[in-house]
């Protein structure tokens, strides 16, 4: 398939997905408002903690907000775009994954395109507002603004990879076990704060198993001048992309398992 045709398909899938969701306009509006309120209050709680305690391991609120905003935006985009993987258990149970296998396109591509969820727009707005505020407070400008963008794209790839792995697990377990929330929502919650505050084992999980540190803590330190600013630290968000590529390979093992067991 040529790149042009691929992009065309993505565009058509996306338009259809949006159009079918926009049939429920009020619901969309209210949900956006609801998530905006919920996530807004979440950040208000962070604000309250900082005004009570002053700082967190040497991180002030604006610096933490930079992490918080990047992770929030990344996750919101990944969650919206990876909706098909997030709800993959439903597709296996209803048999619609069989239909996907019957079509002449890569399954991962079809699932990725099948649903782009607008409903999580509220979290995206909140993250964007927090990020913008942090950038303003930290007086970031010019090329310094590139780093948060680079962190966000790395974060999107990373979280996307986590959703792909979660879906791969469904080939073996059918249901999505509640425990995988640790890596999705848990990842967001932990990486919204500097990962250095956590116990060693937790830090290790989110550094080596799921390289969250490399899309948040490491490049943020390089940017803020509080840690190594080596080229490696600046390139760290690339680990998110590597993670996604690895996930897609593991996903293929899952498909092979599915087509040989026919669960």
């Amino acid at each position: 398939m040529t790149l042009r045709k691929t992009l065309r398909l993505v565009r058509i899938y996306t338009t259809l997905s949006f159009r079918s969701q926009l049939q429920y306009k009020t619901s969309f509006f209210l949900l956006t408002l609801g998530t905006l309120l919920a996530t807004g209050l979440e950040f208000a709680a962070v604000y309250a903690l900082f005004s009570r305690f002053g700082s967190l391991h040497g991180w002030k609120l604006p610096q933490t907000a930079l992490l918080y905003g990047c992770i929030s935006v990344s996750f919101a985009i990944a969650e919206a775009a990876a909706r098909g993987f997030d709800t993959f258990s439903r597709q296996i149970k209803s048999g619609s994954f069989d239909r996907i296998l019957l079509r002449p396109l890569p399954p991962a591509f079809q699932i990725a395109c099948s649903e782009i969820q607008l409903m999580r727009f509220g979290r995206f707005l909140q993250g964007l507002a927090v990020l913008g505020w942090a950038e303003w407070k930290l007086h970031l400008s010019g090329t310094a603004l590139m780093m948060p963008l680079w962190m966000v794209t790395g974060g999107i790839a990373l979280f996307y990879g986590v959703f792909v792995l979660q879906a791969t697990l469904v080939f073996y377990t059918i249901e999505t076990p509640e425990i995988v929330n640790i890596f999705t929502y848990g990842g967001v919650e932990t990486a919204q704060y500097p990962l250095s505050i956590y116990p060693f084992w937790l830090r290790s999980i989110f550094t080596f198993l799921i390289p969250l540190a490399s899309v948040s803590l490491i490049p943020a330190r390089a940017l803020l001048g509080t840690g190594s600013a080596s080229l490696l630290s600046q390139a760290a968000p690339a680990a998110g992309y590597l993670f996604l590529i690895a996930s897609l390979h593991i996903w293929k093992i899952g498909i092979a398992h599915y087509t040989s067991t026919g669960s």
Binding site: Q23, D98, R99
Partner: protein, 328 residues
């Protein structure tokens, strides 16, 4: 002419993990699973010529859907070979599925919240159908399935029969040479069933599409298939013309009668009494020896009844009888 599908000695065994009782069992299950082998196919072989229309029938759990899944490339068999349209389905899956169509009677492949037309245009992109081919396919399908009025309706608002017509069209937009139909008439009203059958017949006769049909409805088979393959317990029990199935299974039909007065049992030398519950009588007869109309006329002369119904034996019954004649 060379075969379109050549299936040889397919076998498939599922491994089913058993759940253990209680919390402790669930924990044990995490470490070591208790499994059980469930053979689904035990050496299935057949071949299909281009343009054939075959009914693939058997009771639930006989291996029908396993075969269909393997033939459509979404399941890998344990052993055996399959060549279809020059591909091994599960190995060249993407190239292969470009050339086949699959309809599942119980599930739709259309996008639930969107008008039918949108689903069609997306499928057109997925299968990379060129403008000309798409337009002519649409035109033909529209007139054969009377789709004009449905195209702008969201799928969720369609009746089951309307949806099935649209699903059929959706599976045929890319002009597949081979079509799998899994229970295409299940749950449909009588009129829709006729439309669907008529359409499948036209498709096979005029466009030469090869069709494999699984169904529980004996009328579907009667109306459409000249050849049937009966599968039971993972093995092919019978493969031949429809007449062969009939003669193998016997042709007996049932006549259900609701009598005016309870306790009265009609008797006829050509019919056998099967059951009698109050005023409901069930007779068995052989239509080759006495046509249903003649039998009914004779009974009507002698007895007063409220209602009657002639019943075809169900697939399950036919197969149960086949077991009688084809002991393993």
């Amino acid at each position: 002419m060379s075969a379109l599908i050549e299936v040889e000695n397919l076998t498939k065994t599922y491994t089913i993990s058993e759940r253990r009782e209680g919390t402790w069992g669930a924990l044990q299950g995490l470490i070591q699973r208790q499994t059980r082998k469930a053979p689904a196919l035990r050496g299935v072989s057949f071949s299909l010529q281009p343009g054939e229309m075959v009914g693939y029938i058997g009771p639930n759990g006989a291996g029908k859907s396993t075969t269909i899944k393997i033939l459509s490339g979404i399941l890998v068999p344990d052993s055996g070979t399959c060549q279809a349209l020059g591909c091994t389905p599960w190995r060249d899956r993407r190239r292969y599925v470009q050339q086949i169509g699959v309809v599942f009677g119980q599930r739709t492949q259309l996008w639930w919240d969107l008008p039918v037309r949108e689903s069609f245009s997306l499928l057109r992109e997925i299968y990379q159908i060129d403008d000309h081919a798409f337009r002519s396919a649409m035109q033909e399908l529209q007139s054969l399935l009377q789709l004009e009025a449905l195209l702008n309706t969201p799928v969720r608002q369609l009746s089951l029969g309307q949806r099935m017509r649209c699903d059929l069209a959706a599976s045929l937009l890319h002009s597949p040479k081979l079509l799998f139909l899994d229970e295409p008439t299940i749950g449909l009203d009588a009129v829709s069933k006729l439309v669907v059958r008529e359409f499948i017949r036209t498709l096979n006769r005029q466009r030469g599409v090869t069709v494999i049909l699984t169904t529980h409805d004996m009328d579907d088979i009667e109306a459409l298939c000249s050849r049937v393959i009966v599968i039971a317990e993972g093995k092919i029990l019978l493969d031949g013309p429809l007449q062969q199935l009939r003669s193998a299974a016997g042709t007996e039909r049932r006549l259900l009668i609701e009598m005016e007065k309870p306790g009265e049992t009609p008797a006829d030398e050509e019919a056998r009494l099967v059951s009698c519950e109050g005023n409901r009588i069930c007779l068995a007869f052989d239509p080759e020896r006495t046509p249903a109309a003649a039998l009914i006329a004779r009974i009507a002369k002698k007895y007063a009844f409220r209602d009657l119904l002639v019943q075809e034996p169900s697939i399950e019954e036919v197969i149960a009888r086949l077991y009688g004649t084809y002991p393993e």
